[in-house]
């Protein structure tokens, strides 16, 4: 009965997960990594092994470099704004100034942006940001804005607008998680701080933030990985345009894979992304270990 022995117990609990992950994730991922070392993967009958040639090509591609910088801006702005907004709204919903009913209604209203599929989010904002859309109409009280104001098609602000929309549809995840974290902080901490004469700002900085730190790092990490891959919203809003100004890595990869049918380059870009994320994952696991100890 060695199989049921004590040492194998954790592996038995993990078995379904490990089997699923290896068969359906690790194998395809290895195939993708394999594609990045050949030319004409998937499409060609006899792909030719080219070693690191694809990696050399991709780093020489100015479009790729542009996509990296757009991605960094997009991800950093989104993650930071998600955190700030999520925190603000969670504090609001947690404040002692409102009754239970107000809070219940507000909670439902505040998570609304989260429940729609990405293509709908894109279509909705596209409608609103049309030159003849509601946003220009409502904002036309300002003299700078008229029926001709462009949002998504202005190269200098398009990426900002995309970030805004991504922030809009992503903050509820943070809000809910932070709200939950706030419920978990013992009221005694605040009381004793108040007795010591601490101000609201001080207790926020010295109690709330440190108490929430583990959860903040966890969700920021997950959000970082998810935002890196965010594709549908950007694709349907701008298609990476105007003139590649909103082209992130996921758009770059899609264009390579399905527009140019150059699967090898798409796989190369994806593999680089994977390597970056593995470092993040290692950092994440280490940080979790620290929290536990």
């Amino acid at each position: 009965m060695k199989l049921t022995g004590k040492k194998t117990a954790p592996y038995r609990y993990l078995a379904p997960t490990i089997i699923l992950m290896i068969v359906f994730m690790v194998i395809p991922i290895c195939m993708v990594i394999g594609y990045s070392f050949v030319d004409g993967a998937v499409v060609s009958q006899n792909p030719e092994f080219v070693g690191l040639e694809n990696y050399k090509t991709i780093f020489a591609d100015s479009e790729y470099i542009g996509a990296i910088s757009n991605t960094i801006i997009f991800v950093v702005v989104s993650v930071v704004a998600h955190l700030v907004l999520g925190m603000l709204f969670a504090m609001l919903l947690n404040s002692k100034y409102f009754g239970t009913r107000t809070k219940t209604i507000a909670r439902v209203v505040y998570i609304l942006p989260w429940v729609f599929t990405a293509s709908v989010v894109a279509i909705l904002w596209k409608l609103m940001l049309q030159p003849s859309g509601i946003v220009n109409y409502l904002l036309s009280v300002f003299p700078q804005i008229s029926q001709n104001t462009e949002w998504l098609s202005n190269r200098s602000i398009a990426l900002g607008v995309i970030c805004f929309i991504n922030i809009w549809c992503g903050y509820p995840f943070y809000m809910i998680s932070i709200l939950a974290g706030l419920q978990g902080i013992s009221g005694d901490l605040y009381e004793s701080a108040a007795i010591d004469g601490s101000t609201a700002t001080k207790s926020f900085l010295h109690i709330t933030i440190p108490q929430l730190k583990p959860i903040l790092i966890s969700i920021a990490m997950l959000d970082f990985i998810w935002t890196l891959q965010s594709f549908n919203v950007i694709w349907m809003l701008t298609g990476g345009g105007p003139v590649n100004s909103t082209e992130t890595l996921s758009i770059y990869i899609y264009k390579k894979a399905f527009q140019k049918v150059d699967y090898s380059m798409a796989a190369t870009a994806a593999t680089i992304l994977l390597v970056v994320c593995i470092f993040i994952a290692i950092f994440y696991v280490k940080q979790q270990k620290k929290v536990r100890e």
Binding site: V115, S177, G181, V285
Partner: protein, 278 residues
């Protein structure tokens, strides 16, 4: 003095609450307005919230179209199965991560986080190859399996965090009474973890309900399609049916919202414990 200070704070906080509400709800309100308009009125200038074309005809068109109703049913079946399976498999793994120290734990843990890092677009073709080889193409099972795998990492991370907050003495008590670990997990830990399971379940449901790319590639016939595909089918080559698209999205969001309203107490509590010690 203190009283008036408190009052001002309350006013400011209330204003913030309303502004925040507008920020999140206004686009949704506009979506509902659009869904009530005739398709040609959606782009009219100046835009109006409600105009003379307002009617429920888009909703009626969606609900009386048997293939669209089928999309909703498919999405329900897939999402419910994914939630149950993800929770089952995820809880087992989370239990292992939370209660045991074993060689390879760190590796498995980072594996679970980092497999999320490959963009689904690239994974699509090799993954689809597996599904076809297993003769699962164009079945519910293909979608269920896919979403199970994509939602598992989050489920495991959150449930591990949740179990970590529960004292080990709980399961030891069961085992002292002669019970097994298996019993301790399902009869003690799981019942008190319901809030955590609800929060993970909500997330999983949402992911399964809203996923598009794999649903597009892994199903082929009309009777296997899900709601997001149905919405995109309204985006034609020569024109979009904007109002029906909006109507279908509104209808699609209702089950998620009902779930949230029903479970929100649990939801908040669940996220809390899972996250804090995460």
């Amino acid at each position: 003095m203190v009283g008036s200070y408190k009052k001002t704070t309350k006013v400011i906080v209330s204003i913030l609450l309303v502004l925040g509400g507008l920020f999140s709800a206004f686009p949704i309100f506009w979506m509902i307005c659009s869904s009530l308009k005739a398709n040609s009125a959606i782009f009219a200038w100046p835009p109006k919230f409600f105009d003379k074309t307002a009617s429920l005809s888009s909703y009626i068109a969606v609900l009386t179209d048997s293939s669209k109703v089928r999309y909703f049913i498919n999405s329900y079946i897939v999402a419910v199965c994914v939630v149950l399976l993800t929770l089952f498999v995820g809880i087992l793994a989370a239990y292992a991560f939370s209660r045991f120290d074993f060689p390879g734990k760190g590796i498995f843990n980072s594996l679970i986080v980092s497999v999320q890092a490959i963009p689904p677009i690239v994974l699509l073709i090799p993954y689809m190859g597996l599904i076809v080889a297993m003769r699962l193409f164009n079945t519910y099972f293909a979608l269920i399996l896919t979403y199970l795998i994509t939602t598992l990492p989050y489920c495991i991370l959150m449930m591990t965090g949740y179990f970590n907050t529960l004292s080990r003495e709980l399961d030891e008590a069961v085992m002292i009474d002669g019970g097994s670990r298996w019993k301790a997990l399902w009869s003690v830990l799981v019942p008190i973890s319901i809030p955590g399971m609800v929060s993970v379940g909500m997330y999983t449901f949402m992911q399964a309900w809203n996923e598009y790319l794999f649903a597009l590639a892994l199903t082929q016939t009309n009777n296997m399609r899900t709601v997001p595909i149905g919405i995109n089918l309204l985006m034609g080559q020569h024109g979009y049916d904007w109002s029906q698209m909006m109507a279908m999205s509104v209808l699609g969001s209702i089950p998620v919202l009902i779930l949230f309203i029903f479970f929100q107490k649990y939801f908040i509590a669940g996220m809390s414990s899972g996250g804090v010690k995460g």
